[in-house]
């Protein structure tokens, strides 16, 4: 009896917490299907008119394209740099390995705003204009610690033996990386890439400060917000949310399956 009561109260508590976590999302998605002009109750719908508006808004679509470009390229760069560094530190740790790890992880302890501010000052000085490339560089910096940490944490000693065996059998460094290390680390590499892509996809302040005309989607949504609440923002927000949610879900499932397979 006590056990049953415990289970019920645990269930109620968890439901309440999940309700708190998902409340804003549910409201966002629900009122993206609103028929009227305002995304507040009463709900009249469902209607797809605001999605049609959003998809036929050329500025919004251009921003979506920019976001995809920046997310894919900055996560590719961060995953590549992070993998190489993690591999090197795991296999051939130099004496100053601690300092290297510290430097690579340091960007995580600094606000994006300050990273953006620093880059803005540098780009101003060297005369580089605000652009999508500048945003991509900023996003690579914030993604690199994440990619490095995820991949580094998955390098174990048993992998080292496989690398050593390949070396002993005459494989060169590049062959070992390409044919042993990358295939073994594929789930971690994939998860790192997906999480980095969502981080970049959502990032706002670096994108705002380092771009001028070719803005990304979060910046565009922020600009739309200045006109006040609108179901069009809900629709655009739902698109952003759905894309990043599915990317994270794919990464998480890949990691879970991989861990499950290892046991």
């Amino acid at each position: 009896m006590r056990r049953l009561f415990g289970n019920i109260s645990t269930g109620v508590y968890l439901a309440a917490m999940l309700g708190f976590i998902y409340l804003p999302v549910v409201i966002l998605v629900l009122f993206s299907f609103q028929r009227g002009m305002l995304p507040v109750p009463p709900f009249e719908g469902p209607s797809l008119e605001w999605y049609e508006r959003a998809f036929s808004n050329p500025r919004l679509m251009a921003a979506l394209g920019n976001s995809v470009i920046v997310a894919l390229s900055s996560s590719f760069a961060a995953t590549l740099l992070g993998f190489l560094a993690a591999y090197s530190l795991a296999r051939r740790p130099p004496r100053y390995a601690g300092s290297v790890r510290f430097l690579l992880m340091a960007p995580i302890t600094v606000s994006y705003l300050i990273i953006a501010l620093g880059l803005l000052v540098v780009f101003n000085m060297v005369g580089m204009s605000k652009s999508l490339l500048a945003v991509g560089i900023g996003h690579t910096i914030i993604n690199l610690p994440l990619c490095f940490a995820i991949i580094y944490s998955q390098f174990g000693d048993h992998h080292r033996n496989m690398d050593q065996a390949a070396h002993d059998l005459g494989a060169g460094d590049l062959q070992v990386i390409w044919r042993i290390a990358i295939p073994i680390m594929r789930p971690a590499i994939f998860a790192a890439f997906c999480l980095a892509a969502t981080l970049s996809w959502d990032e706002f302040i670096i994108a705002l400060l380092l771009s001028r005309f070719d803005v990304t989607l979060p910046v565009m949504i922020f600009e739309l917000l200045r006109a006040g609440l609108s179901p069009e923002v809900n629709a655009a927000g739902t698109i952003v949310f759905a894309i990043s949610m599915s990317t994270v879900a794919v990464a998480a499932i890949a990691m879970l399956l991989w861990r499950g397979g290892k046991r």
Partner: protein
């Protein structure tokens, strides 16, 4: 080993004891591998460390009509502390950040505890995933979504008025409470993850031993579980602190212009005032605060183990 000795001319087959032992270290003799940290190190140095150092330098420089002049002085810092609204922004930021960090820990801990000890197996994994999934998603959109919930005609006010709890809509939107709510919602997910990861690593025999020795349920929690879960709290709270104190979008969307936090004040300096040295002063001050907090929490923090 013998094969690798033959393939690697630098590795002596019968070398003297000292270097010979070092050569047995796994990974020795891979010529290319040791260089592979350099791309990441150079990239981070060039686009993270150098800009940061330059920003600190700029905070000591002067603004001229043509741009910046490397005329070192503390005058920008003096100007910052002379201006009440800038100092107030700093105070507001620290207050909001401490409040957010404390509330988030208090909200997240029970959730992490229940997930770690009251559910198990596949259900546990699914619930954890579902709990932290929105953390990774839609940063700007999330603040906006809370605005929908708490705005004057929003669902919360309509619900409360419909139930007759209140006559007038609550003015939550565009206040500090709204900013704190948005942040707490966001960081509950992060802290749940770090605390959960810590709780499931605690050896269950410690708790069993304590209760066998006569500790009450609360005694076990207070003297065993809580102290052992401090690292998880520390990592999550530190990240919460860092992100909150530097975040622009949440106070801008949810807090409005009722009060200005540091990031908003920095944006005003960059934008309207085009005053880079003052923005750099404020950025440097934020970094000093974060560094102080990091040093205070350093013994609990193992960032790369996250």
């Amino acid at each position: 080993m013998i094969a690798s000795q033959m393939l690697d001319p630098h590795r002596p087959a019968n070398g003297p004891a000292g270097p010979g032992v070092r050569d047995l270290a796994p990974g020795a003799g891979w010529p290319l591998v040791r260089w592979l940290t350099w791309p990441a190190v150079i990239f981070t140095a060039l686009f993270f460390a150098a800009p940061l150092i330059l920003m600190i330098c700029v905070s000591f420089w002067q603004r001229t009509t043509g741009g910046l002049e490397a005329d070192w002085s503390l005058i920008n810092y003096a100007k910052f502390f002379e201006k009440d609204f800038l100092v107030q922004a700093l105070v507001n930021s620290v207050e909001v950040t401490v409040l957010v960090t404390a509330i988030s820990v208090l909200v997240a801990y029970p959730l992490a505890y229940v997930l770690a000890y009251r559910v198990a197996g596949t259900l546990q994994r699914i619930l954890l995933l579902v709990t932290v999934l929105p953390f990774w998603t839609a940063y700007v959109v999330r603040s906006y979504s809370w605005l929908l919930v708490i705005s004057e005609g929003g669902i919360l006010n309509q619900l409360l008025m419909g139930m007759g709890v209140i006559d007038q809509p609550l003015e939550i939107a565009y206040t500090r409470a709204a900013t704190v709510l948005g942040f707490v919602h966001f960081f509950t997910m992060l802290l749940t993850l770090t605390i959960f990861a810590n709780l499931v690593q605690i050896n269950p025999s410690y708790r069993k031993a304590a209760s066998d020795l006569g500790a009450s349920g609360f005694g076990v929690f207070w003297r065993i579980t809580l102290p052992l879960s401090m690292p998880g709290i520390a990592v999550g709270a530190f990240l919460t602190f860092v992100i909150t104190i530097g975040d622009y979008i949440t106070p801008q969307i949810l807090g409005g212009n009722a009060e200005v936090l540091m990031p908003q004040a920095i944006m005003l300096q960059i934008g309207r005032a085009a005053n880079f040295p003052m923005a750099a002063v404020m950025g440097t001050l934020l970094m000093l605060i974060v560094t102080a907090v990091y040093l205070a929490a350093a013994k609990h923090l193992k960032m790369e183990r996250l």
